[in-house]
Symmetry: C2
Subunit: 207 residues, 2 copies
């Protein structure tokens, strides 16, 4: 089976990139240049009408949306660090955390640069941008106090929630969130940075 | 096992309510009155610090976020209409669709009444509200053209994506979206309205 992984280096695609490295699955990475708007090229729109990344293309078709992609990779790599719990409640904790990241935390972040998704009014877009440090800090407050259960997001066992949180937490400084206020999130980010998968991804994008 | 289902009748909780009815699982429904701000009561915040619905409370703890809740219910009811596919790609299609609903479609809808989540600026909130018909129509355009595969969202087989789409599609008129432009979405909404599960939920809230 072949996996084609469409991504861009400034996007949430890095969570999927790390997960693919953790999985040990073979895959081919295709970088889209957002500065050149390659995500809206006719060829890419034919593959993915959402004009977003990440996306996985396999023989059966395309998979989009980070929570679905991460779960798919984990299902294909049951012997890797990404192995999914068989208990439905434990599995639900992973899916609930990832849903929170995609529907609330990533959305809060998107109001900084992507306000045009919700209004054409430039003054309103500026007002949204101005409030990002506040709304995103509220998210990290909840993650710090209520969600992080141990060394990894869900406790002692690594999971697909970990690369996802790592990627979003890497935006904290640029989004006006003070990482020092969230020591557990910061410790998690540092622990992630020590993993071979993350080192490989960081080196790829630095070179 | 006991399932306590926290919801409110004006919320996305209706998707979970329909799924619980489809599942055949026993459960207890607890309605929170948002007009009375019961979702921010100290008792409820202790259960669910997110101050949102829906939530399921079971012996092991709480499950939040609609995509995670729907998947959990489906896992507990493998002989019901909600049965999950075993093929990872087919399963990913369900999760990708539900992720799109929670991260994009529901978020577009929320800009109508919940702009304060992203800015305190009242003029900006009004600008967001004004653009909801446009942004939400773009979502339904994509759902109509690219996502609906058959009688049900993913084709011939009913799934947890169906109550979720039904609930969000029920907001179309009030959100300034013309359902006549999306005949497949409208046919899906009508097919859902014919199911016993949906009839029961509608009757409950009308009485």
């Amino acid at each position: 089976m072949s996996i084609k992984f469409y991504t861009s280096k400034t996007s949430i695609g890095i969570a999927t990139y790390i997960a693919l490295e953790e999985s040990g699955l073979p895959y081919e990475r295709i970088e889209l240049d957002f500065a050149q708007q390659q995500q809206t090229s006719p060829e890419y729109l034919k593959l993915n009408p959402k004009a977003r990344v990440p996306a996985l293309v396999i023989d059966q078709g395309i998979i989009t949306e980070t929570p679905a992609i991460l779960t798919y990779i984990a299902q294909l790599a049951p012997d890797s660090s990404l192995a999914l719990p068989t208990d439905p409640f434990e599995y639900a904790q992973i899916q609930a955390f990832n849903s929170y990241l995609c529907s609330t935390v990533h959305v809060a972040h998107a109001h900084k640069m992507r306000g045009s998704r919700w209004t054409d009014d430039e003054a309103a877009q500026k007002a949204m941008t101005a409030d990002v440090p506040k709304t995103l800090s509220a998210c990290f407050e909840l993650i710090e106090k209520e969600m992080l259960k141990g060394q990894w997001v869900h406790g002692d066992d690594f999971s697909i929630s970990d690369p996802y949180l790592y990627r979003i937490a890497s935006w904290m400084e640029a989004d006006g969130v003070d990482p020092q206020k969230y020591p557990k999130v910061l410790a998690h980010r540092n622990a992630m940075a020590d993993r071979d998968s993350v080192k490989k991804v960081e080196i790829t994008y630095q070179s």
